[in-house]
Symmetry: C2
Subunit: 307 residues, 2 copies
């Protein structure tokens, strides 16, 4: 199982969606359809990777009744999970979606506090020998060290497992220094390296800091990858409108799958798939889903330029 | 325990309150403080009656994990409950409260479907012999007959128990015909009897239909009571600003407590207490709470006129 993709979601959530006629501030609303599913950026990565045919293992913390609902939903979705129990209650997020225009208004609970013992238990049960790659994404729950992702990357290296880490700011620099494949977007890259940095030079800077590679999404301008072998830019397929939430997670899923197959993949090919998957994610209304037919249609059409 | 006040909440809920900086439609919000408690109009009635020193028994349906949380919270609040289990999951309501101005935006789930067997089980476990009065308020869950309150009132009469029923529209007329003490507000009264009816003549019409008495809240104009002995109007104490949600339930609690003591209370005295309790409920930010000191200060100050 060298290809197994572990997806780390330290701040797992039960994502609840309420459909309403139209959200009015100060109003009282009758909720129509209610949907509940496991959420957090790492879960989106796991869903997309599974949809693309890869073996995944969802990792994270679950606590209380809400944690049980998250675990149940992962099971029902066919996602194998290895979850570390915690004493505090798993968080919820609530999305209010207008029936009229599909616009969403989001409320994110901060999440349960993870104790030092629970953080150690998470590491102790990590099945390093089975993992082809470990993809980490999303916010950190209270109690977890702020350099949690860098710590995971360092531990992974000890076990010869590559990590793909989607983060921003200081955590992005720390993950690069720890030798991870780093994933971010243009805004977060500039948060970390300064407003005047270009996406291309920023991605290269991350590899100079130690990152095995850097893959930066650049919104309507496509995507950039850098490794010690070069830098590439992929152009977007076409203007796609829809729900951009989860597009970056689709990119992370493709990157993780590529690294699980080969530690030094052909980044120009990876970018082709990543751009197609991100665009195919925008077509679907729910983060974590992708339009597989659109993905397959677009994947060979993506133009990649070596810089 | 002739004075025991049974409070019926057919559509019990777990009321969840999220504090946010300011609600922006289409935005993503970090949730600050989270509060959860048992809710539904009947629970507000039970809380206020208990705060005023009366013995209460909270009745309703609970299902699933959310039902367990509701039952736990009622227990923690010191409210004795006799709950009928159902197979569907108890509903939640979510209130988003702005930190800046305290304004609330509310989302109400419709509620679980109650089966015919569950509805019969609810009646079968009703402890008629222990009840001094039965107060019914709030929305009906799916599956319960639309004339549920009238059915309860008729069953109660068979057991010589008076009911206080807070409802509107057709259900208000049916409750009156069933001989209940009916509770409503001016808008709901006009929904039932026509736009041109005054609150006083509407209240009298309800007693002519068969209601033991009718108590109608009239917003800033105070409150009206009618029985076969007369009609009274109570004037509001002073302009009170705050949270009007739950003010009507405080009125219902006072009416139920009075009827539990004496089936034909002095309605002018009841109105004094009801106006004071409603105003004291507006002072508190949470429905079901009242400012007991303000209640005691205002209660002797309320002016009641016989019409």
């Amino acid at each position: 199982m060298a290809g197994l993709i572990g997806t780390v979601t330290l701040n797992l959530a039960l994502d609840v969606t309420y459909q309403v006629g139209e959200l009015v501030v100060g109003g009282s609303h009758r909720v129509g359809a209610i949907r509940q599913r496991a959420g957090g950026k790492g879960v989106n990565v796991a869903r997309v990777a599974a949809t693309l045919g890869h073996q995944v293992l969802a990792l994270g913390f679950v606590g209380g009744i809400t944690g049980e609902l998250v675990a149940e939903e992962l099971f029902d979705a066919g996602l194998t999970a290895l979850l570390t129990p915690i004493s505090a209650e798993t968080r919820r997020t609530v999305a209010i979606v207008n029936e009229s225009d599909g616009d969403a208004t989001i409320f994110n609970e901060a999440g349960p506090t993870v104790s030092g013992d629970e953080w150690r238990a998470f590491h102790d049960r990590m099945p390093w020998g089975r993992l082809g790659v470990l993809a980490c994404s999303g916010s950190l729950p209270p109690g977890v060290p702020t350099d949690a992702y860098a710590e995971i990357a360092v531990r992974a290296r000890h076990h010869d497992v590559l990590t793909v880490i989607d983060t921003g700011g200081e955590a992005l620099l720390a993950a690069a220094k720890a030798g991870a494949v780093v994933r971010s977007n243009a805004a977060e890259l500039r948060d970390a390296l300064g407003d005047d940095v270009s996406v291309e030079s920023g991605a290269r800077r991350l590899t100079e800091l130690g990152a095995a590679a850097a893959v930066i999404t650049d919104g309507p301008h496509g995507m950039v990858a850098a490794s010690h072998k070069g830098t590439w830019r992929a152009l977007p397929v076409e203007q796609v409108s829809g729900n951009p939430t989860g597009a970056g997670d689709a990119c992370t899923a493709v990157v993780a799958a590529a690294v699980a197959e080969a530690p030094e993949p052909d980044w120009s090919l990876v970018l082709q798939s990543a751009v197609a998957a991100s665009a195919a994610a925008v077509l679907t209304p729910v983060a974590g889903d992708i339009d597989l037919a659109a993905y397959r249609r677009w994947q060979p059409q993506v133009t990649v330029q070596a810089l």
